[in-house]
């Protein structure tokens, strides 16, 4: 059982959680992720680690309510617990001094990009951050990003904050003004694909963090397989970061739609009575917590 110590709304439908998980906090590196299971009827979903504090033994997750599990997760508050949290999984981001780099992120992808951007800044890079969202109320971690960036650009689709337009429009501008040595893109698939298409002609090393569907997260099931350079790679162990020029984004999109019908059904069930679902989760986890002493199965 993993206790939520802090739960803070960051934007519309996006919440930041600080969760007690000492083992994961000790080992976490930027770019890695965890797998979460809320209760004993829950599914396993991957979530990027936005931060960790090894001394406090906590990890930070930024969760956007998109599917049933993330919607239910976002209803939780400090003092609640989630049943399972495992990690840190996947390979850590490659950190070195590339020179001048752009970190392009969309919406909650900013939470993935931020810890890597921070490390890249520490490694001596000139960091240009381009942060996008559909509108102002979906913008997250702006202050954090600004603090680790030499230049920060904000774009919204509707112009409600920063420049009106897409992050790729801004990237184009930046690329016209200076030579980039490295680009990191985290966010929705169409955005990552657009960034990849833009940087490819100039052969700028571009890395994307892929959000495929996973179950175990340790390479055992192969459900997260993506086509990279024409061959199957597992996002959970070979990634989640890949060279953008080699990723087949069509296959990624297609596979991420595999359970669309079931996802819709689950969301409808939740929305029929969200409070009842939340109560059920709390009851189940409380029961397991009480039984844990007897069963003796620990996790921390």
């Amino acid at each position: 059982m993993y206790e939520i110590l802090e739960a803070r709304p960051l934007a519309r439908g996006i919440k930041l959680f600080v969760i007690k998980a000492p083992r994961i906090a000790r080992k976490q590196r930027p770019g890695q992720f965890v797998i979460v299971r809320l209760d004993d009827c829950g599914e396993r979903i991957p979530l990027t680690l936005a931060d960790a504090d090894p001394e406090a033994g906590t990890v930070t997750l930024v969760v956007q309510a998109i599917g049933k599990t993330t919607m239910l997760f976002n209803m939780l508050e400090a003092g609640d617990s989630i049943l399972d949290l495992v990690g840190p999984l996947g390979k850590a981001s490659e950190i070195e001094n590339f020179g001048t780099i752009a970190v392009v992120s969309g919406s909650v992808g900013t939470a993935m990009a931020y810890p890597t951007a921070r490390e890249l800044k520490r490694a001596g890079n000139k960091v240009i951050s381009i942060v996008g969202a559909r509108s102002k109320d979906l913008m997250v971690l702006e202050d954090e990003v600004r603090a680790v960036s030499d230049e920060t650009y904000i774009c919204t689709d509707d112009g409600s904050y920063g420049d009106k337009g897409l992050v790729t429009d801004k990237l184009k501008e930046v690329m016209a003004g200076q030579k980039l040595d490295y680009v990191l893109a985290c966010g929705p698939v169409p955005m990552m694909r657009a960034v990849a298409n833009m940087t490819a002609p100039q052969q700028i090393k571009t890395i994307v963090s892929l959000n495929s569907i996973m179950v175990d997260g340790t390479g055992m099931c192969g459900g997260c397989r993506v086509l990279v350079n024409g061959s199957s790679q597992f996002a959970c162990v070979d990634g989640p970061e890949f060279d953008a020029s080699q990723v087949n984004f069509d296959v990624l999109t297609q596979r991420n739609n595999m359970y669309r019908e079931q996802e819709r059904e689950s969301i409808e069930r939740l929305q029929a009575d969200p409070q009842a679902e939340l109560d059920r989760l709390r009851r189940r986890n409380h029961k397991i917590e009480c039984a844990a002493e007897v069963v003796g199965v620990t996790n921390e």
Binding site: K27, D84, D216, T218, G219, M220, C221, N257, E265
Partner: protein, 487 residues
Amino acid sequence: MSNTTQTKTSHNPLPNKERSKLPRQRVPEQDAQVRAHNFLEVNLGFPAEQARQESLRCIECPKPGCIEKCPVSVDVKAVIDLILAEDYMAAAAKVREDNALPAITGRVCPVEDQCESGCVLGKKGEPVGIAYLERFVADWERETGRCGIPRSAPPTGKKVGIIGSGPAALACAGDLIQMGHQVHVFEALHELGGVLVYGIPEFRLPKEIVRHEIDVLHRRGVEFETNVVVGKTVTIDELMNGEGYDAVFIATGAGLPRFLNVPGEHFNGIYSANEFLTRVNLMRAYRFPEYDEPIYPCKDRDVIVVGGGNTAMDAVRSSLRLGAKSASIYYRRTEKEMPARVEEVHHAKDEGVHFEMLVNPVEFIGDEKGNLIAVKCIRQELGEPDDSGRRSPVPIKGSEFVTPCSVAIIAAGTSANPLIRMTTPGLAITKRGYIQADDSLATSKPGVFAGGDIVTGGATVILAMGAGRKAAKSIDEYLKSTVQSVN
């Protein structure tokens, strides 16, 4: 361990001649047509009277072949005698001396190649139903809420970490705890049991049984910790240097699923058997939406499973239970070469699984949305024997054919998971990426032992358990030798 074999007088009232004339008891089963649509257990197990009748058949050989053929050397003869004495508790404790998981092995062991192949009665007629008897004893114990726990040695003060909680790990834990060592099991998933819970389906091995066996180990003193991916959450070096473990046993299982590497394998509806079974078993996707984990719909659709092992049988029978319109095994050799247990193949056939032999998929075909709609296969014939002694299939030119299907499950084996080898300096590995271990299951790293599928590649539950027991013995010897060197 046992001396009852030599000293006790038999509880069998029948003379030997009459015993071998008794017919083998048939274990009650759920009707094939009914069970093909539910996840309840297929075999129902012996009631006490049938267990007694079957036990009466044992002729109590002076040199029992059954014990010799058992990878963990269960004292079958003594167990059968205790059943006849109706002291089921003692029978359970007797089994547990050598086998930490009797309710499990009694269900999933390939007994026709093991204990039952060593039974003298099998030479002229049918062997004693040893697995059913083992299962009877273990089920009696669980159902009556009692527990035949063997006595442990006094505490040694030594701490052993076991990585994984599958059959090798649990067998090792059972022996080590009995030897008086402190045992801590690390499991990567949220549920304990490894392949017993994510791989083997409910209808062949109910989760409740696995939970019970693990609970018994816990009552014997084994500590369990879930959600720890050794190699990621913590490394072996950290366990041995920082967390004070005196020895570590790596029992992580085989790991990565193999795909066929043919065009179209990324289409929606194509699963590795590992993923399909994990979704159905571990995540209970067959109870979606009550359970959140989804599975690609099999209902009223054509499902093919590529492979001929037990995993393939588990997958194809699961797909039937998910409502498949047709469920077929596509295997590249013939039924004779299939590695699956005979009983599993029979069960699958009874339930209506279709077997297509000597075929190999060459391409998967999808629609414009990327959903699987058909598979293109080529027919094959058997050529010369390969390294494994089995005749290799050779494709027949021009024999390609296309079959519609919506779900394809690839059960073509697994390869070694690299997580541990990549994060453990000094750990020697084989050419194929498995962990190198000597006859005692010691690795190249002092204090680190390895066994089960991560050493041998994909095998069976009981072979993994045999490795777990062997490792326990080696670890015990290692710990004793380090005590001396420290003093």
